[in-house]
């Protein structure tokens, strides 16, 4: 799966938790979940669980801690899919 396809799927996943619509509309790989999209940290757990369900992968703690931006999350997903 290419980074672009993963990012598109991720955009759909984060949408319900976003608190900054304009930054969401202009989402890029550099977008930060907490500062740019203003996702509440308790909902970051939901993003991680939704990602696990959508891509059928399991994310360990040391990967989860990197998942604070679009780019970092796409990288984690891509790596997990490669080793599946």
């Amino acid at each position: 799966m290419t980074a672009e396809v993963i990012q598109d799927k991720l955009k759909v996943i984060v949408q319900p938790y976003v608190n900054h619509q304009e930054n969401f509309d202009n989402l890029t790989s550099k977008s930060d979940f907490i500062n740019d999209l203003q996702i509440n940290s308790a909902n970051l757990v939901d993003v991680v669980l939704d990602v696990e369900d959508e891509f059928d992968i399991r994310i360990e703690n040391d990967d989860m801690e990197k998942m604070i931006s679009v780019e970092a999350t796409v990288n984690v997903i891509q790596k997990k899919l490669e080793t599946k």
Partner: protein, 175 residues
């Protein structure tokens, strides 16, 4: 050290389902999960532990100057009584104090040896009013974020480290 976190319990009820499968496993150790599941009020207990972890994270981020990460599982909570707690992280620890306002909010702040102040407000305006009352009516307290997005209060020529938290209708600051 400063670090604080507030959870609006009404908002938390609608925004998060802590009983969602695997949710607690992502953020709590087995001991912490047992505390939540054996509590007469599991949600309150969960948010107590969560705000302790978040407060400690903010305190250690400022102390150790690390970039933002999302690793609540790296912080281990020990409850001393209904308010006091200890959070262990990476061989170090901080003490915390929790204020419960039943059905409204759970507020946690890291306790430090030097005198720190905390304000809890129902709006950003009220928070700024509290700061004006503290620093003088003519002061123009400004909230800003510097390196690693760490917050500070700027008043005249002084820049004071602060921890700021906002959830639902609540705002709180510690400095």
């Amino acid at each position: 050290m400063i670090g604080n976190d507030i959870v609006d319990l009404k908002k938390a009820k609608t925004d998060s389902n802590i009983f969602r499968p695997r949710y607690m496993h992502k953020v709590l150790s087995q001991n912490e999960q047992n505390l939540v599941l054996s509590s007469p009020n599991p949600e309150e207990e969960f948010w107590r532990l969560w705000t302790m972890k978040e407060s400690a994270y903010k305190a250690f981020q400022r102390k150790l100057n690390f970039k933002s990460v999302f690793n609540p599982f790296a912080f281990h909570c020990k409850l001393m009584d209904s308010e006091k707690g200890i959070v262990h992280f990476d061989g170090d620890h901080v003490k915390t104090t929790t204020i419960f306002n039943r059905e409204n909010y759970t507020y946690c702040s890291v306790s430090c040896s030097s005198s720190s102040r905390s304000f809890i407000a129902n709006s950003k305006e009220e928070l700024v009013q509290n700061l004006r009352a503290e620093f003088g009516e003519s002061s123009q307290p400004e909230l800003l974020k510097l390196k690693n997005n760490l917050p500070f209060i700027k008043i005249a020529s002084k820049t004071i480290p602060a921890s700021i938290t906002h959830h639902g209708i609540y705002f709180a600051i510690q400095f």
